[in-house]
Homo-oligomer: 361 residues x 2
């Protein structure tokens, strides 16, 4: 299988300078890019909102940095910017979808938007979508559910890079697991975690920026020896959290999102063939005493976390809290600082599509 089929991103070495870019400008630019690439305006705006959500939360490996990848897929004809999610099977608490190899951020968002009212009507909804794509920032999907007062679990297949424990064959993706639990007010408790000690996007970024990996990230070469060279690490044995536990979760998420969805799975995951799994739950129905009892319990949990004995020099946050604070601060400032490699990618994207590039003016 070639890199083209895998969709393995190659971030080119950075040219130019980092830049502070206005949030509104990068949002509009992103929508313009996807519209110019062939997407309907409303869909392009949905995708732009997803990217800005990631970037504003500091998960900027999962936002506009990826625009060049997707444009390449469009050019190669392996991802159709106009493709829409269709429903294969629908029951009151079940939805099966097909993404027709469209942009993941679009088809998976439309899929969850379809699940939310079903979960509201029926108390819960389980959904799987096949023939989807890289979905960007995994937390976005349970966040959509939480914005409607629903709790959610989501996972996806991804590029096979985690080896079954004891081997060096990359068979399962470093599949994120994302969970959101709404609170009575404010942002939800939102855990979005991949199964490696650090996001692979950080390794790609180190490669682009020409820096070494910290030893504690635990990357190994193909023979199992430690390495801090990003390229060697990306070609070696990628560690999973908790050893066989993390590699086991990689298999399980592959079964949930790849096998159960009817998508490609394991070593056959490639562009346009990812699968995703979602479970959306209405606390008002699932909690035996209803929504208010649920919210009381969540607030009690938060109060318990706020009251812990913090270690010297440390701070304690709820999952997603730091990201949510960062988003608030960045939206208030109206600007996001992007590294040189990202700015360069956006400039080239504009050039390729014949769009003006005024983000760094």
């Amino acid at each position: 299988m070639t890199d083209r089929q895998r969709g393995i991103p190659s971030i080119e070495r950075a040219e130019g300078e980092p830049a502070d870019i206005a949030v509104d400008a990068v949002r509009a630019f992103t929508a313009d890019v996807f519209e110019a690439a062939g997407m309907a305006r409303a869909d392009a705006e949905t995708v732009a909102e997803n990217f800005l959500w990631a970037d504003s939360r500091g998960v900027d490996t999962h936002g506009v940095q990826r625009i060049p990848w997707y444009l390449k897929w469009f050019d190669q004809g392996i991802c159709d910017p106009r493709a829409q999610m269709t429903v294969i099977r629908e029951r009151p608490t079940l939805l099966s979808g097909d993404g027709h190899s469209g942009l993941g951020q679009l088809v998976a968002t439309r899929f969850v938007e379809r699940m939310v009212p079903k979960a509201k009507d029926s108390g819960l909804c389980l959904g799987t979508i096949r023939m989807s794509n890289d979905w960007g920032c995994g937390g976005w999907y349970p966040h959509l559910a939480a914005s409607a007062g629903l709790a959610a679990i989501a996972t996806t297949t991804s590029i096979p890079n985690i080896a079954p424990y004891g081997s060096r064959t990359r068979l399962f993706g470093n599949n994120p697991m994302a969970f959101a639990f709404p609170r009575r007010e404010g942002p939800p408790i939102l855990l979005d975690m991949a199964l490696t000690p650090v996001a692979l996007g950080k390794v790609l970024r180190a490669q682009a920026e020409g820096t070494e990996l910290p030893a504690q990230w635990g990357f190994q070469d193909r023979d199992g020896s430690p390495t801090n060279d990003p390229a060697t690490a990306l070609g070696g044995i990628i560690p999973a959290i908790g050893g066989y536990k993390g590699t086991g979760l990689a298999m399980i998420t592959n079964l949930l999102a790849g096998v159960l969805s009817g998508s490609a799975h394991s070593g056959n995951v490639e562009v346009g063939k990812r699968g995703q799994f979602f479970l959306v739950m209405d606390p008002d129905v699932v909690h035996p005493d209803g929504a208010e009892a649920y919210y009381d319990a969540v607030e009690d949990l938060v109060a318990q976390v706020r009251a812990v004995d913090v270690l010297p020099g440390q701070a304690v946050y709820l999952p997603g809290e730091l990201e949510s604070q960062q988003r608030q601060a960045r939206l208030a400032a109206g600007r996001i600082r992007y590294p040189a490699s990202v700015v360069d990618g956006l400039r080239k994207a504009a050039g390729r599509l014949g769009l003006p590039f005024t983000l760094t003016d």
Copy 2:
């Protein structure tokens, strides 16, 4: 909160010798113990089967080793051996239960037994049970579903011992996550993992046996310094897999099994107030192309795992495979070797209930 309320087990220092005990004898003995403690015979046999399932699979920290704990709870009146699960709310794809502080292995088993036909009828079933207890070996519950051809996810609250990342206050249980996916033939793919690098039962066992903990287990004292003393480790900061990822999963499983079930949660989990969360799925309904396509994909996944490039000196197993092989071997041999501390506990249990103890004859 006292140890009595927490239900923190104290394994006494071993007296006597390890012993090879006949499987049939220990199963009958276990049923006799629970019947003598007040449980109906059929329920006592269900519990005995659960314990032997754990012990035969080599998960012998979760089997008959725990009999003395439960007898103590019965004596203290904090767990009623006669209590049965009751249904709070039922919908085609939802079940809410109450365990009435009965033995976890009994009420959670009865709960899953009730979920299985619902998932068969409706394609899936989400269930939560409150006022349950320590459920023993977590893999048992998805295993029950997989035996009926269903895939399942399960998690439970447990004794609070994992601190929010950056603190030393034990707030969340080392909650197991268990997953089973049935295969066309033979035992399912079954991942059963707690959120610490090693099971706390192994630390308790080391304490009972008077041995030190290996450094790589990563336990810390209350100030965050490494320790290999079991008692210090049990009183210190217990590590979670992947740092903030594992502590985050501890919070999420607490939200699923504790908060959504309407049970106690976080620092308030104690004997008789645990909650459990289950999701049971029929692959024939969830997979858009039905059961045969699901089984084909699973067998393809297994074939891919069998074909990996194994590292020198290592072996690769499916999750649960080693345990399943061990069970087969132990059942074939008809005997299980128990350590001195466990044999001693069983002898004392027999004495307390006035039962003959002939297991080591």
